[in-house]
Symmetry: C2
Subunit: 516 residues, 2 copies
């Protein structure tokens, strides 16, 4: 285990990390998720190191030096999503995160620290915080470090410049003066000082909630499928696309917070979205050649709308709040996935309420018109009005109607359900082919999409999906990630003489100094 | 000539473009600049094509296919700056730009059109607007197209997705319906319809201003220098850095708008900033190995402050307005230049008022303390309070003090001049070495900076320079440009089997379909 959890603290939850690498990040993401659902009584999470004096030694450097470009990019995106999940917890669930740096925090380790609310560094004459990627590796801090430095901690840009080019970083006093940390304590007083701060925070926001158990996400696989209870993934590898279908539940659903707590992880909005999350990550990491995902839904739309009403009615309950926040994070994971998404709407589908977000998150949508098998329909619920913000802070419906905000009144008026013609008129869908053209049109659209340059599509989708305002999150995913991707490709980083290739070897990096 | 200017119109100014390439862009930038200074009476600029039926045939594809990575990136940045200069004119000087598309406008041609206020397309059964970069070339529209599509014209994202993957583009009716153009007219009525619209606009905002003559920017060169009247560039190529010094004028300066108009292009704020602009472009394109520019100033700070007072007092006059807007554009060009900037402040320098912006735009600053030759100082003027916005809309002073906005009151209080200690205390500078350390510290800082990976520095600076809000401009330069840079490096674009390499050849592109 790279992350040790210590629940013995009466007043906080301690996550002790091994030196930092991808293993840590996967376990960290999991630990944060479990704290939120299993330990709602915890008010403060302390992130510290198993090995005193080395909070993070940058073990991931070797991983970055030897892994493929695609893996590096995926890794950086995932770690950023974990950082954002920590901040989401802090912003929306009121839990405080404290980085207790009992040793040097460099690179990814310091980037993890600045995702926390407060950072305390030990004053032992040696320990420092640093972002040594530029001077040592010729790449950028890949986990949002630069953006969080100037946008979250608002470190003055000239100081950020100095700090980000200084391999050895800065120690206690100057680090505090420049806003890189919130405090520093001598070794002998470090533990008690951090504990005292934790006590203060815990007393400010006590909680008596009791958690649920997050059971493992289960699935069955064949050569070309991965099937969960509510999410079915069919991989059409020869055509480079996948069908991802989310099924509505059947049977009666809970309506009170008590019933939801009783059902726990088996409650549809939690289970289906955890399955969806797993399917998206699987597609990203293990199916790189799948360029397009056709999003489909099946089941009773009214059941989905009823669930949304229950979530809205109980949104003050801690578990319901966590479930809605989790759904929002999974939908943002979808927005940020470097694959094309087409929503396919046919009779029998249930793009309603929370599942309508799948359609709104898609790059385009196709809805069958005048079918013999009955009409297809879409439906909105209150949850589409802001419960699932995109990374830019807008709802997907606001994003869609940037040019015509008055359409929001129309969409969220008395009319809640839209047949194909109505959906087309109001602008909820892209295309509405009829029975005669349907199969051909979908087939051609899939063929065309999967024939295009996958790199150009990734850049195009990242540019078109996030119109409107930018936030720290969109800066990290759009701006910083794109720069990092570029740098990860450059000979100065990954060529035979590149800094990343030569780090830790007796050979030295040599740069082509041309600036672009 | 790739751009023909037609001043014979009583009611507008017509720019006729040859098919679109870099030559066009340089001439276009020049033409827009000259219209602003030489023809303030012109209220409407019509951009149209010399060759009917081909507004833009995408001549730059061959240029992109055969040019170096650095050239491609520089080219895209420059064309974007020209687009932004058009929008700056439209937003701040009230001139209207009309794209009169008398033929198909594809790629860069359509991107130029969406930089205009209004777009009219001929309805001849063939002509269309299109962004064929993704489907034909495997790269992105590089001149802000994608961002302007969803952010400026607010085209619905699914429609933008369809449009940007459709090589043949869209014609009149559907293009209008999707918000890609503002109107379409049949061939026989195209000219008269555009003329009628121009007449409407001209009558709405008549002007009687008379222009000045923009004389050519002159300079002398040696092997390692390029010297203008007020700007001196010294190239230390072996050490990969340049010294760029801006000199204050000597002698009496004009104080009224009439005197300024009389002096015209020789007025210091116009001449010095035109020279600075030229020097920056020269450094970008012709000196790629210069990674660091040390910004210096020389002369009487009081003269600079006096000039700023004159500019403020006369800011309602059209020419003074244009001069201030021009200074702002040049300073943004500096912000967006992919080289490191250090400001070096010594006794005899004049980082005051508008020239203080050079220091604020720098990645860091060094100011000499306790010198035998007298004290160095900085000074603020009213122009530092918002007259020169960065691309993100903030002043450089606001950007600097994001964490402590109350510092703005301190900086802009009664005290206008700051010696080294005061400048350090208030946070205007990064480092203040004394006489003993000065030369060593500057030398080491230069050596360290120029030893780092130039790619990592470009990405780092682009991430640190623009904290705070994002705008369409910062999205174009930060997000879209970075994606484009990445894609320009990918084998799917520029490898032997890449789409850009193979465009127009009998061979066909083959992609590695892995998505990252």
């Amino acid at each position: 285990m790279d992350v040790q959890e210590d629940e013995t603290l009466a007043d906080g939850y301690k996550l002790k990390l091994n030196s930092y690498d991808l293993g840590v990040d996967i376990e960290l993401a999991d630990a944060v998720q479990r704290i939120r659902f299993e330990h709602p009584e915890v008010r403060v999470v302390i992130i510290t190191s198993l090995k005193p004096r080395i909070f993070c030694a940058g073990a991931n450097i070797y991983m970055l030096g030897s892994s493929s470009h695609a893996f590096k990019v995926n890794f950086c995106k995932f770690t950023n999503e974990t950082r954002c999940a920590i901040e989401d917890d802090s912003n929306h669930s009121g839990r405080r995160y404290i980085a207790a740096l009992n040793g040097t925090a460099s690179g990814g380790g310091y980037e993890l620290a600045i995702a926390c609310d407060e950072i305390y560094l030990v004053d032992d004459g040696n320990s420092a915080v640093s972002l040594p990627e530029v001077p040592l590796l010729g790449v950028l801090p890949g986990t949002g470090g630069l953006t969080r430095l100037v946008d979250k901690r608002k470190v003055r840009r000239d100081r950020a410049d100095v700090f980000s080019t200084l391999a050895e970083g800065l120690k206690g006093k100057r680090a505090k003066e420049w806003g890189l940390i919130d405090g520093h304590f001598p070794t002998s007083k470090f533990q008690e000082s951090v504990d005292a701060r934790v006590k203060q925070l815990v007393e400010a926001t006590p909680s008596q909630d009791r958690g649920i158990k997050l059971t493992p996400v289960e699935f069955e696989t064949t050569a070309d499928s991965r099937n969960y209870k509510y999410v079915k993934l069919k991989l059409n590898r020869d055509q480079r696309y996948a069908d991802l279908t989310v099924h509505a539940p059947t049977g009666p659903q809970p309506t009170t917070a008590e019933q939801i707590q009783e059902l726990g992880a088996a409650y549809w909005p939690l289970q289906a979205y955890r399955e969806l999350d797993d399917a998206l990550l699987h597609l990203r990491v293990n199916e790189p050649e799948i360029g397009l995902v056709c999003l489909r839904t099946e089941g009773d739309a009214e059941t989905i709308l009823e669930i949304d009403r229950t979530l809205v009615a109980n949104h003050d309950h801690w578990l319901v709040r966590e479930i809605i926040l989790h759904m929002a994070r999974v939908l943002r994971r979808l927005d940020l996935t470097a694959k094309s998404f087409f929503a396919i709407v046919e009779p029998g589908s249930c793009f309603a309420g929370n599942l309508l977000e799948l359609l709104l998150a898609s790059d385009r949508s196709y809805m069958l018109k005048d079918s013999d098998e009955g009409d297809a329909s879409l439906a909105v619920s209150e949850l589409n009005q802001g419960a699932f913000p995109m990374s830019n802070g807008l709802s997907r419906m606001q994003s869609r109607f940037l040019a015509e905000p008055e359409k929001l009144d129309e969409v969220f008026g008395d009319k809640k359900t839209f047949d194909t013609e109505e959906a087309e008129d109001v602008g909820l869908i892209t295309f509405a082919p009829d029975d005669l053209d349907w199969e051909d049109e979908i087939r051609v659209a899939i063929e065309e999409r999967t024939s295009l340059s996958p790199d150009a599509l990734t850049g195009m989708e990242a540019s078109l999906r996030f119109a409107g305002p930018e936030t720290m999150d969109t800066k990290i995913y759009g701006r910083l990630t794109a720069w990092q991707n570029w740098i990860f490709q450059r000979p100065n980083a990954v060529g035979p003489e590149g800094a990343l290739t030569n780090y830790g070897k007796p050979t030295q990096a040599h740069f082509d100094y041309k600036r672009t």
